[in-house]
């Protein structure tokens, strides 16, 4: 089902964890749908370089792997460069994903954006091209099946 790269990033995920007093934190996804990603960024004030990046993910194999790969891709980049890390880039770096799992790579992109947004908000700066993320965490988590 998954490529070797995906399996590698799932089995040995890079950058799992939290960053205390992170420069920015973003959480996207929806427990109801079975995927939540949280990204922590440690950003250098001066250079705007992402010095460190950690994640926590509740989700399927692809969700974990895309989180892992996304943190790898943004680490060392400036926040402006990080914004260019698209879901396509994440997928390519993972040698592809099954069609039903493409949405996981979108979540990975969004979680980076959400963390950057958080950083921008906290520091009152504007990052060109970044808009407020659709962060629907803790939304509609109640059971709502009705037939």
């Amino acid at each position: 089902m998954y490529s070797e790269k995906v399996m590698d990033h799932f089995s040995n995920p890079r950058n799992v964890g939290e960053i205390e007093n992170a420069s920015g934190v973003g959480t996207v996804g929806n427990a109801k749908c079975g995927d939540i990603m949280r990204i922590y960024l440690d950003i250098d004030e001066e250079t705007k370089i992402i010095k460190d990046c950690k994640f926590k993910t509740f989700g399927c194999g692809a969700a974990v792997a895309t989180s892992s790969m996304a943190t790898e891709l943004v680490k060392g980049k400036t926040i402006y460069e990080a914004l260019q890390v698209t879901n396509k880039a994440v997928m390519e770096a993972l040698d592809g994903l099954p069609p039903v799992k493409v949405h996981c790579s979108l979540l990975a992109e969004e979680s980076i954006h959400a963390a950057l947004w958080d950083y921008a908000q906290k520091n009152n700066i504007e990052i060109p091209g970044l808009s407020e993320p659709k962060n629907d965490i803790h939304e509609g988590e109640e059971d709502e099946d009705e037939e």
Binding site: K32, G34, R38, K56, F58, C60, E141
Partner: protein
């Protein structure tokens, strides 16, 4: 991979060597069409007749009440669609439950699109329907009650005999999807007032692509697959002789060892359940503790997602399944877990382990040992667990 602990016997089972041996001659030697006139066909014909007698005998039916089909899904479709169309002058209302297999539920949806009305009974937190609600749901236009014998995800066994009595009292036909129950627990169609029953061969160490329907004499039901005059013109298609023979043999073996298997499996099952509940925190057992298939364990692990869990178990050689949306290919987690009242995020963390008679205590001990580590690992990666811990610290 070296180690392989197959705990997905509710999905499918390995054909038993004895079953395979019994099937073998019908591929290349006695390959003939049992409907043929010549004596070369006699063996095949006798084998099909014998299989029919055997199966009938095991469930207290007559031989001419057994119809071979292509599997559980076909039997389910046949029972529902043909009854609906046959009885549409009497009424258009069908009663089923929210926890049926998709072979029932999606067929009901198809029937709804074709003018039928379907009541989907709720179940309680253990997956049991309420007999009172069932009886209240019966209308003058009710033509069929279809309630599964035992649930494929959480293993709950429904009160079939009582349902049969209610159906009989109200003169409504009663179908049960016994795909998970047949050859696992005792069934007597007469005692239980069952009018129709669906079974699939590969769920009890028989072959895939074969099943049967029990259809009580007197129930007027047209064919679902029309064509040749096989199965008394009720199910067309050249007989799948090896499949039929294999299914019957598997049923015989299962029934011969049923008491012993139930005892053995229940012990292993209970050991597995107890260890999981005792040793892993934030876990819930799904399904009824007592009215439960002897081979079914189904738990939800909070803060953890099912597919990840399955992949990690797989890396340890353990085959299991989950009601997580990711594994079903749909957006929602298992409708069964939602129906017993679980919130979505809990349902995503479900794990089903279904044993066979060959599953040992050592097997499940190994699984629990690995499971503990995996759950811990996944929770350490889970933002939901992080939030939970932080909230509790406050």
């Amino acid at each position: 991979m070296n180690k392989l602990i197959y705990l997905d016997n509710a999905a499918t089972t390995a054909v038993k060597p004895e079953v395979f041996e019994k099937m073998k001659p019908y591929f290349m030697e006695n390959y003939s069409n049992p409907s043929s006139v010549y004596s070369f066909a006699q063996d095949a014909k006798a084998a099909v007749d014998e299989a029919r007698d055997t199966i009938a005998n095991l469930i207290g039916a007559k031989s001419n009440e057994i119809y071979f089909t292509g599997g559980g899904s076909e039997s389910d479709n046949w029972a529902l669609i043909s009854t609906a169309f046959a009885k549409k002058d009497k009424g258009n209302h069908i009663i089923t439950s929210k926890i049926e297999h998709h072979a029932i539920l999606h067929t009901c949806e198809y029937l709804e699109k074709n003018g039928f009305e379907v009541t989907y009974l709720d179940v309680d937190e253990n997956g049991l329907i309420s007999l009172e609600e069932l009886e209240k749901a019966i209308r003058p236009t009710t033509i069929l009650i279809s309630i599964m014998f035992a649930n494929n995800e959480i293993g709950t066994i429904e009160p079939i005999k009582e349902i049969g009595e209610i159906a009989k009292k109200h003169d409504v036909l009663f179908h049960t999807d016994a795909v998970q129950a047949f050859a696992h627990i005792p069934i007597n169609v007469k005692d239980m007032n069952i009018d129709m029953m669906s079974v699939s061969g590969h769920k009890f160490h028989g072959p895939k692509g074969i099943g049967f329907m029990y259809l009580r004499n007197g129930v007027k039901l047209g064919a679902f697959v029309h064509g040749g005059s096989q199965e008394r013109s009720r199910r067309a298609g050249t007989h799948n002789v090896p499949g039929i023979v294999g299914m019957a043999e598997a049923a015989v073996i299962a029934h011969k060892n049923m008491d012993e298997n139930i005892k053995k499996e229940s012990e292993v099952r209970d050991h597995l359940i107890n260890r999981i509940l005792d040793e892993i925190p934030y876990v819930r057992l799904n399904g009824d503790r007592v009215k439960r298939l002897p081979n079914n364990v189904n738990c939800c692990f909070r803060f953890v997602e099912g597919e990840s869990l399955l992949i990690m178990l797989d890396q340890k050689g353990v085959c299991a399944s989950s009601g997580s949306a990711c594994t079903s290919g749909s957006l929602d987690p298992s409708h069964v877990l939602l129906a017993i009242g679980l919130p979505h995020e809990i349902a995503h963390g479900s794990l089903r382990l279904t044993l066979s008679e060959d599953t040992t205590m050592e097997d499940v001990d190994y699984v629990v040992d690995e499971l503990k580590k995996i759950i811990e690992r996944l929770r350490s990666m889970s933002p939901l667990y992080e939030d939970f811990v932080k909230e509790n610290q406050q």
